[in-house]
């Protein structure tokens, strides 16, 4: 697993929500895939009227610009909102975290050994050019091409950032990644609408990979190795088409009248304004001249806007599938204090999480364990440590540190992370621990985390790559990740946990698997590698006329589900 993928994955509490990439590489055993029963419904959100009104134009504004429109390389928050307008992947999620088919006509079937995945694609799905004309029908060959393209090391100007992290489990992918072959032997076209993917080892999470935008199907003749060219003229099977894009200003998407899903798209036009200051954008949403605030509600206006009764039905928020935590170096060299379980457990009791959440305007929920809400396996009853400053101090003394010790907290420079580190510093001081704060630019900070034992305490966050509990264990709390270049900030390695996690990953989906992950979570928390702090809420605001908008646990913004409310 390469470090750039991980770098983007280990995001901070400031939550630059990205479609971050990383994947565990624990070997897995056969697992039956879930069978999606709901209609290929990206549009199947909870709060929709029976007949969704069609037509109209909505506008969004973001502070940052698009990086890419090519799904093979697109890797950012703004980009994902746009790419999901223009492209479809074989699978997607319902309004929650359940996998459902999209371009696939049904949920893929998995062989008994879990290594062969057969995807049946819909017929009658067309690639549509930006002028609205049909290019041709999509076939299985296009999916084969698209997956091989993501693995292609010769993509220009840069290869896909997730190729090795997400797709290296495919048989023959190493040859493509190494430039020895153009196509992976494990990606096979069976017939015009059927593709088989062979894996080196069974892995249930590959279904989640098939739902990422990296698995979106692109037309062979237009999407070449030159991603920059495809960025300028992206063509897919999605409900909207890119009509125009002026860098640094705006991108205009128009309805794809030949879209394969009946009743979609809902809107005539979607205008993305980029490079707009978040405070200015908020004012426009308040005034009703802008429909959706792309970024979160700016800190300075947060309380005023979220408590104003006139905006009550315009504020949209949801807890992100992320956990912000204070990691402690469980294997601190030279018999360091943090290497002692009793010391770490005392610190678990000494951090006032409610106070820390206040610095975030209370936008979120206090974290008591590892898995966040919405993550399958989330266990609200998991709460092994409670805040008690006096007990924490006493326990620290009992652990052999009656007068505390000196240590260092590392965090990044993005607000409000330094302020949260300062709050942690205060709590530690109350226990007698003197902590110095070091703030570093995010890239440097990740370098520090990845350097063995460079940072005794780290305030950082982890955002899901995909909704599977393995994603919160394998990349950040496994022995394999406790290596130089790994993202295991606590340098935590418990062989027993590793064995159980590998077994759980191999299990068939279902309640037993989740129960096993909950048991693993409890075992890890007993070792106290982290003080889980909070799960942050994403808060944004829409105009009164926007319907069908929700903060999606995976996509964040699913603009293809948005429509204009009747009568507005």
């Amino acid at each position: 697993m390469t470090s750039p993928a991980k770098r983007l994955a280990a995001i901070t509490a400031a939550m630059a929500i990205a479609v971050s990439a990383c994947s565990g590489n624990a070997s897995t055993a056969p697992e039956q895939s879930p069978t999606g029963s709901s209609p290929a419904g990206e549009s199947a959100t909870a709060s929709q009227p029976t007949s969704i009104p069609q037509g109209g134009t909505i506008s969004l504004a973001y502070a940052s610009d698009f990086q890419h429109f090519d799904p093979a390389v697109m890797y950012d928050t703004v980009g994902i909102a746009a790419v999901r307008l223009m492209f479809d992947s074989p699978l997607t999620y319902d309004s929650g975290t359940k996998l459902v088919p999209l371009l696939a006509s049904e949920m893929p079937t998995v062989s008994a050994d879990g290594k062969a995945i057969t995807i049946k694609l819909r017929s009658g799905v067309n690639f549509v050019k930006e002028d609205g004309s049909v290019l041709r029908e999509m076939t299985a060959d296009d999916l084969v091409y698209s997956l091989n393209r993501v693995l292609d090391p010769n993509l220009k100007p840069n290869p896909s950032p997730v190729a090795s992290a997400f797709f290296s489990n495919i048989v023959g992918s190493a040859d493509v990644l190494g430039g020895k072959a153009k196509t992976a032997s494990g990606i096979k076209m069976i017939d015009a609408h059927t593709v088989e993917i062979d894996l080196d080892h069974a892995d249930a999470t590959f279904m989640n990979i098939l739902a990422t935008t990296f698995s979106a199907v692109v037309p062979k003749e237009l999407a070449t190795e030159d991603t920059a060219a495809f960025d300028l003229a992206p063509v897919g099977t999605g409900p909207y088409l890119l009509k125009s894009y002026t860098k640094g200003q705006q991108a205009v998407f128009v309805a794809n009248k030949s879209y394969w899903q009946p009743g979609q798209p809902y809107l005539d036009e979607i205008d993305f304004h980029v490079g707009v200051d978040d405070n200015a954008a908020l004012q426009q949403v308040e005034a009703g001249t802008l429909d959706i605030l792309g970024d979160t509600i700016p800190s300075g206006s947060f309380t005023a806007v979220t408590t104003d009764p006139q905006y009550a039905d315009q504020i949209v928020h949801h807890t992100t599938v992320a956990t912000s935590y204070l990691s402690m170096d469980t294997t601190q060299p030279n018999d360091g204090p943090l290497s002692k379980l009793a010391v770490r457990q005392a610190i678990e009791e000494g951090i006032d999480k409610d106070n820390i959440l206040k610095i975030q305007h209370g936008a979120g929920v206090v974290a008591t364990c590892i898995f966040p809400p919405d993550m399958p396996g989330y266990d609200p009853s998991c709460n092994p440590y409670t805040y008690d400053a006096a007990k924490a101090k006493a326990d620290l003394a009992a652990a052999g540190y009656p007068s505390g010790f000196s240590t260092t907290i590392y965090t990044d420079t993005t607000d409000p992370d330094p302020a949260i580190a300062a709050a942690i510093q205060q709590d530690l001081a109350a226990m007698g621990i003197t902590a110095e704060i070091v703030t570093q630019e995010f890239g440097t900070f990740l370098g520090t985390i990845e350097t063995p034992h460079a940072a005794p305490l780290v305030f950082v966050g982890w955002y899901q790559d995909y909704p599977d509990p393995s994603d919160f264990i394998d990349p950040i709390l496994s022995c394999a990740s406790a290596v130089s270049g790994g993202a295991n900030a606590a340098w935590y390695c418990n062989k027993d946990v590793d064995t159980k996690a590998a077994a759980a990953r191999a299990e068939a989906l279902g309640p037993q698997r989740l129960a096993d992950y909950q048991a693993i979570q409890k075992e890890i928390m007993a070792d106290a590698p982290w003080v889980p702090l909070y799960h942050q809420d994403w808060y944004t605001m829409t105009s009164k006329r926007v319907g069908g908008f929700q903060i999606h646990p995976v996509w964040l913004y699913s603009i293809r589900d948005v429509y204009i409310k009747p009568g507005s």
Binding site: G300, T303, A419, E441, G443
Partner: protein, 313 residues
């Protein structure tokens, strides 16, 4: 001397009180309800009303003002809405970072500016003078946010292209670590160096044209002695005054440089407080900055009065 001191102190106080009044008015101008900000988004109206009462926000304006002034005089600068802590400890916590940057920046200003200024004055019209003038114009014209980002970019490219890994990328802070301090201090120093160069050149030229210099030269004194022992000693006065004033200014917070390098000092705190509409913290940082400047002014005036016999009260 004593009446002069009292007068100066009095004016310093007037400035402080004036700033205090203006900043206090901010609470009424900024569209943020302090009680609501403290209570948080999820608090009930009853809780908000209770906080409003406990803060005395329901009392008449003048009464609130009086309470505020009394609190400030007792060292109580209020309570940060956003960070949920008292303002004064927050300021004091950030002060060491700003002090490090201020001293280092000042040292670089002086280390670059003075030699260039002396060189330019003694070789007036020559290569060094023109060169120094040119450098000065460039440095004065370059805004510090631009210089800061440029330096960060140079370090970044050095790292990406040549693997040079001496300075931290993208700024940041580690207490008393020179690697972190170097770039912010250099950025701060560059702008000021140009100013010191000009000042030093002007005062030095002024002195070099005076009669005592001509007399010294006529006596056959070596040029080095004329420069260093006589002219520079007299020319350095205004420069020292400037150093004192700058120090006061910097200690109050170096807003732009701290922001560019994510340097957690008073200046960054001021920016953060404005971004989050954290009124008590805005007032606190402004008052703290004013206090630093007023103190520095006072200190420099006194020093000047004591050391320069030409000054009469």
């Amino acid at each position: 001397m004593i009446p002069y001191l009292i007068r100066r102190l009095g004016w310093g106080l007037v400035v402080l009180v004036g700033v205090m009044l203006i900043t206090f008015l901010l609470t009424y101008v900024i569209p943020a309800d302090p009680a609501r900000m403290i209570a948080g988004a999820n608090a009930s109206p009853t809780d908000v009303a209770a906080i409003r009462r406990s803060l005395g926000l329901d009392r008449p304006f003048l009464e609130q003002l009086a309470t505020y002034v009394a609190n400030v005089l007792h060292g109580d600068f209020g309570f940060s809405y956003h960070q949920h802590r008292a303002v004064l400890p927050l300021l004091l916590e950030r002060f060491p970072a700003t002090a490090q940057l201020a001293l280092a920046g000042l040292a670089i200003e002086v280390a670059i500016g003075l030699p260039l200024g002396i060189l330019a004055a003694t070789r007036r019209g020559g290569f060094w003078d023109r060169g120094a003038t040119m450098v000065t114009v460039v440095l004065v014209s370059a805004p510090s946010f631009w210089v800061g980002y440029l330096l960060l970019e140079v370090v970044f490219q050095g790292h990406q292209s040549y693997g040079i890994d001496i300075l931290p990328l993208g700024g940041g802070y580690k207490p008393f670590d020179l690697r972190y301090l170097f770039l912010p201090a250099l950025t701060l120093g560059f702008g000021g160096a140009a100013y010191y160069n000009r000042l030093m050149r002007a005062t030095m030229l002024d002195e070099l044209h005076r009669d005592y210099v001509r007399t010294a030269r006529a006596k056959g004194l070596q040029e080095r002695a004329v420069l260093w022992r006589h002219a520079l000693r007299n020319a350095i006065g205004p420069v020292l005054i400037q150093v004192g004033l700058d120090l006061g200014f910097f200690l109050g917070g170096v807003v732009i440089v701290e922001q560019v390098f994510s340097w957690p000092g008073i200046g960054k705190l001021a920016v953060d407080s404005i971004v989050t509409a954290d009124v008590p913290l805005i007032i606190g940082t402004v008052l703290f900055g004013t206090l630093c400047i007023v103190t520095a002014n006072l200190f420099v005036d006194i020093l000047n009065a004591v050391t320069d016999p030409r000054i009469r009260f």
